[in-house]
Point group: C2
Chain length 336, copies 2
């Protein structure tokens, strides 16, 4: 028996299943009396429409997939939250998957989402656009890239302007008298990792700062690589007087390493983090960061999926990114 079906409701209300379906889906072609009887029967029986059956008949499932690199990253958690909330308001369910920076896991998750016949996918893409991602696009499934992008893959996206934030960061440090600015870069397999590194190099050149390649540490968007990066850079014979990290997790790592080695942040060494995570405001001293707007990214991504579903044209959005100056940056000191 379990939950009653539309058939049970029809029997109780004394109408056909077609009428029940129409009433429940707010089809205007129903009589007041039918509506009344159906609603009464449905609520008495605790009827719950079966979304699977409905999806099978209609073209859509009212479900979207969100595939992020890692919800534990506060930046992505904010996106996940906004997406889930926005979708819930329209009675759309959100399937959450984590790729954990692994292309293999991303493919597995995409396969799952396709099987679930989600109406669209919001993804922080990984890799080169081969594998399951290509299959998904070939299927014509609406996809929106968020935060990152894949070169040569033509998908609408909502990203932030990586260049302006990094440029402002370098200019800020230059104004404070820093000449050697260390950079903990993100993985070059990601568009954000690449763009931020390019922006760093160009800003360094434009400001006439020291363009020593040794000042760039290649990280991977994980906390541990932030630690390793700060360690490697601060251990240089001619150590930088300022450090910039290319994402929030690596920023955590950099802060941790500075703390562990007793370096006074904002004093011995200036630090600029990425993403305006709440806790960066609480660290002592509060961290100067390059800020984006993940909530807005999430909301926009959902809106774009909706437009794609409605067959309306969508254009990619690039959100501003700006520098929030706090106490972790200060005048340059002599390097060690």
């Amino acid at each position: 028996m379990s939950t009653p079906t539309i058939r049970d409701v029809a029997a109780r209300a004394g109408v056909s299943v077609a009428t029940v379906s129409r009433v429940l889906s707010e089809d205007p072609r129903t009589s007041a009396s039918a509506r009344e009887k159906v609603f009464a029967a449905a609520s008495e029986m605790g009827f719950r429409p079966n979304a699977q059956a409905r999806s099978l008949r209609r073209t859509r499932t009212d479900t979207i997939g969100v595939l992020l690199s890692d919800v534990r990253n506060p930046f992505f958690a904010e996106i996940a939250h906004t997406v889930a909330q926005t979708a819930l308001e329209s009675d759309i369910a959100t399937l959450l998957c984590n790729a954990d920076e692994s292309t293999e896991q991303q493919d597995h998750a995409l396969d799952l989402l396709v099987s679930q016949r989600v109406d669209g996918i919001i993804v922080t893409p990984q890799g080169d656009g081969s594998g399951s991602l290509r299959d998904v696009l070939k299927l014509g499934l609406p996809v929106v890239f968020v935060d990152r992008v894949i070169d040569g893959v033509d998908v609408p996206s909502v990203t932030s302007d990586n260049r302006s934030g990094v440029t402002a960061a370098v200019e800020h440090l230059a104004a404070l008298g820093h000449r050697r600015v260390g950079f903990v870069a993100g993985p070059q397999e990601t568009s954000t990792g690449r763009e931020r590194l390019v922006a760093y190099r160009e800003a360094i050149a434009a400001a006439g700062l020291d363009a020593d390649p040794a000042l760039v540490y290649q990280g991977d968007f994980r906390v541990a690589s932030g630690v390793a990066g700060a360690r490697a850079l601060l251990d240089l014979d001619d150590a930088p007087t300022a450090l910039v990290a290319a994402d929030s997790l690596m920023t955590f790592g950099v802060l941790q390493e500075c703390q562990d080695r007793g370096v006074r942040i904002g004093d011995d060494v200036s630090v600029i983090g990425y993403d305006d995570i709440d806790s960066f405001r609480l660290v002592n001293p509060p961290v100067t960061v390059i800020a984006h707007d993940p909530a807005r990214m999430g909301a926009l991504a959902v809106a774009m999926i909706r437009d794609l579903l409605a067959g309306e044209p969508v254009t990619s959005a690039v959100l501003a990114s700006n520098l929030v100056e706090r106490a972790s940056t200060g005048p340059a000191r002599r390097s060690a």
Copy 2:
């Protein structure tokens, strides 16, 4: 046309749809030649089984719902991550919803999950067990409570031992000579809010510390109430020399307020936070916390849902909670 169906595969492979279905679901009653033809046809056509159709026929959807109060809370983000990963490994999809500490939103989300016919629900419950939650239980849908519990509602749960952590915290402060310990409590509508407050009161009494009711500020598990709580408590004529917050977000608030008013943490006032969030280790000074194991909670919750589905008996688990001493706690000072 869109994606091919099992029917298309059957035609191409030259067998019946029944055979295709059996091969694809690894039914042993299939010949090697059938398997070969079916796999070849399926992969050539890029066949993707339709999970909706499959779910409709079978009793299950291979989908679970996770309804948390807020993924933006790092503690819950960790749970969400573990649940999604564990589920994905078994090809189970995870529907994520946020209740945002609102019973109304919880009900809306539960209705959605029931309609989606999830196989089970992992929930951080809210309210008194009425509303949609009762309906869900009446349906016999497997439900596991995580972190919190609702009195009088008999549902297996995985929680942490609120008492031992709080007790250890108070004892630690007593040993450091603190006599007046402020407590920013969680909402009394939640089991965790209640249990932690009771544990605080009993520990204060047991240690013979000042049991002044003015030392308890009633918060609501949001950052702002942590700020307000710290402010109210530190503004007391006879201000406490130590503060304990009953969850991570309120801990953020307490730290923020201390920072804003220039109080030296661990020196002027000792602070003990809740949940061992990464960033609490990075705050300067690092925060002494009452730690749980959210990853384990998430993994256990999934295992419990699985057992419920398999009809096996499950017993609730209470995980240990322990004090991690760091530099935010120190000897008591004269109160202001």
